[in-house]
Symmetry: C2
């Protein structure tokens, strides 16, 4: 058995660490993908392609410790779900506004 994942309680989640986690383009992309996917996703699926696995692993750890995702082992893979609903209770509107802005920004880039 590998060491279990540690998830902060909602009370331990700070605005600064949430913003810090989302400030990185890779992590924001992961969160957007998890959000748009609608269902739990393993690490390789949600992360941008061609990113070294060790780097991916690090980014998932940051997202986990910030309280943004919950990770569970399922066989050989790790399945991740967003904790947006919880965080939205504590910091109303923050995550939805950021996700919407991220989508809008990418649309603007394509146009």
């Amino acid at each position: 058995m590998q060491r279990p994942f540690l998830h902060p309680a909602l009370g331990e989640v700070t605005l600064e660490s949430v913003l810090y986690a989302l400030a990185d383009p890779v992590r924001l992309a992961i969160v957007c993908k998890l959000s748009s996917g609608g269902c739990p996703m393993n690490c390789s699926t949600a992360a941008p392609l061609s990113l070294p696995k060790s780097t991916q692993s690090h980014h998932y750890q940051v997202l986990r410790e910030a309280g943004l995702i919950r990770s569970e082992r399922r066989g050989t893979e790790v399945v991740n779900t967003l904790r947006c609903a919880e965080i939205n209770e504590k910091f109303p509107g923050v995550i939805p506004a950021i996700l919407a802005a991220s989508v809008a920004q990418h649309k603007a880039y394509v146009d």
Copy 2:
């Protein structure tokens, strides 16, 4: 004459750099203070006390380059104003939600 401050055009402002700038506790505090003050404020006034001036200067530079503040020299001091209205056009709701969450977080800490 000192070199003039450079402010990115709204089109150059990215969500990632805005979040990055706000992810730091000192910079978030500066933005909150500028927001709650309602009027332009010089650097020393808006920054937390006891922070070295060189560190303050660095944080203001990050805020400026992220597009969050506009800085103008007035005599010996630099007067800073928030660019929230502009950014709110580009990324609706992001800044208000973060500012509200920051206020709520500090209230919760006091309680």
